[in-house]
Structures are given as C-alpha cells and as structure tokens.
C-alpha cells in the first residue's frame, strides 16, 4: 500500500464485515511513535483464526477465508521496527463484550515508514460505503487533535442517510478543517 491510510481503510472493512455496530479508528502520535488501533464490537475471532489472519500461509485452507490485508499492515509496521498485535473475543466467549482490536505500532523516523497519506479520504470512503454502521475516528499528534463520531452526526440527521453527498461533503470539510491546525 502506498499510504498507511489505505491500510486503515482496508482493515476497517474487516470490522464492518464482522458485523460491528461501532468501529473505532484511533491514531496516536507521540514523538517518533505512531500507534494505530482499529477497535470493533463485531463477532470476534477464535485464537486459531487470529493466527491465520496474521500469517496467510499458516493454514492450508480450502476456502479463501482470510486475505492479505492484515499481513500487509504487519509488514508496514514491522519494517519500521514496530509490531502488530491482535486481541479478539468472540460472541461465544463473551456475548456481552466481544470484538477485535488490531494495534499496529510504527516508528515514524524510520526510513521505511510509509506516510500516513490522506486519512480523511479513507474515513469518508468508509462512511460512504457503510452509512448504517458507526465510526469513531480520533487522530492525536501532540497537542493536535482531529475527531469525528458518526453517532453524533446520525443524531442530527435522523433518517437522512450518512452516505448522502451533501453529508459526505460536510464530513470531509469538517475533518479537513481540523487538520488545518495540525503541525
């Protein structure tokens, strides 16, 4: 992937497919460290599935159950000296609190750090494609912060779909404005 924001888009799609009602996309930058977390309340994965999504060659699968998305993210963080972790709880294990958390840590001063790229575009794309699920996005870099919670937007819009062009355009400008203050 040319930009980390594309990995974010790709991994967050997994959360939506897992039936998440809320997917959180959190980016925290402190000094030379960037931590990306994608946290959902979807169906979760068994430990065996978790192993197989990290390494696509772990199992001789007959059906194509997992893809290259997670391995590509793992590569992107490990090539900076960072690491990837997945925690997951299935609905069977805990009907009250289940879901998956993918955490990738990057060292931004490493020469092989992939630039974050256009994160706003990825968030907008996610909302456009999945207007019926909620996303919480928060990016902090030192004192700077950009944030969006579709639950708040939904409350204002009532039955107007979040994928409406006017709404999507508003969300994009709203986020881009917040990045204007980023240093």
């Amino acid at each position: 992937m040319k930009e980390l924001s594309l990995n974010i888009l790709d991994i967050a799609e997994n959360s939506v497919k897992a039936g998440a009602s809320l997917t959180q996309i959190l980016i925290d930058e402190t000094d030379n460290r960037l931590v990306l977390s994608i946290v959902d309340d979807g169906c979760g994965m068994s430990p065996e599935i978790v192993r197989s999504v990290i390494d696509p060659f772990y199992t001789t699968r007959t059906t194509r159950k997992v893809g290259m998305g997670v391995p590509l993210l793992k590569l992107a963080c490990e090539q900076t000296g960072g690491s990837l972790a997945i925690e997951s709880v299935t609905a069977d294990q805990n009907p009250e609190k289940h879901g998956t958390k993918v955490t990738a840590t990057f060292f931004t001063d490493h020469i092989d750090f992939t630039p974050l790229g256009d994160v706003v575009s990825s968030i907008v794309t996610l909302i456009q494609g999945h207007p019926d699920t909620d996303f919480l996005f928060r990016h902090t870099r030192g004192e700077n912060r950009a944030e969006l919670d579709t639950r708040e937007i939904r409350q204002v819009l009532e039955d107007v779909p979040l994928s409406s062009y006017e709404v999507i355009s508003w969300i994009e400008s709203y986020l881009r404005e917040q990045y204007d203050d980023f240093s």
Binding site: E13, E152, L157
Partner: protein
C-alpha cells in the same frame, strides 16, 4: 468552521429528496473496494465517481456503492455499471481521470466507453 447547525440545515433540505429517490429505478455504479482494489488505487476512483455523479446532477439517477473483491484482481481498480434492462458494463484498470470520462460519456451520455472495458483489455 463547519458546525452541527449546518448539518441540521442539510437534514432539512434532504428530507424531501429522500422520499423522491425511493421510487426510482436508477443506474448502479459499483466499485471493488477489497484489499486488491484499494492497493491498486480504487479509493480515488470511488471518490471521483461520487463527486462527479453528484456535481453533474446525476445524484438522483445514479448511485455509487462499494463492494468487496470482484475476483479479477489483476484488473483492479474495477468499476461495474448496472443499468435496468441492459447488460452489465465492467470497466477495468480505472483511474480518477477515466472515471470522469465514464461519467461524461456513459452515465450522462448513455454511451459505453468501450476502450476502458474488460473486453478491450483482454483483446
């Protein structure tokens, strides 16, 4: 500054539109947005289509949606156009610029841009 009050205004404007749209048998434009599509550049293609369709005033007739892997990863980014009573059109190796031409000539003008289709790519 963008405010939630603006969003409220959008909501009030959209209310009637939503009802209008329900009864229409429109054109569906579908963009493959799996890992293969995203890696090949589907995000700017999708955004160009969403923006172009709406800015050209086609928003009521054409919907732009996303799907997973279509199964022809080597041809990504792939865009499929479904029109009532017509055969599906599959555009391959798309870019934001090609998307503009598809909006102009196909979605607006009704003429398939043959050179971008999978048929032309395989010939």
């Amino acid at each position: 500054m963008k405010t939630l009050a603006e969003l409220q205004a959008i909501k009030n404007r959209m209310k009637d539109k939503v009802i209008l749209r329900d009864g229409l048998e429109g054109t569906r434009v579908v963009v493959g947005m799996a890992t293969c599509g995203i890696a090949a550049g589907a995000r700017p293609v999708l955004n160009a289509l969403v923006q172009g369709v709406n800015e050209q005033g086609l928003g009521d007739k054409v919907s732009v949606t996303q799907t997973g892997c279509i199964g022809i990863c080597q041809f990504e980014p792939v865009v499929e156009v479904f029109e009532a009573g017509k055969e599906k059109t599959t555009y391959v190796k798309m870019t934001a610029e090609k998307a503009q031409r598809v909006i102009e000539e196909h979605l607006k003008g009704g003429k398939v841009v043959t050179e971008y289709t999978i048929g032309a790519a395989q010939a």
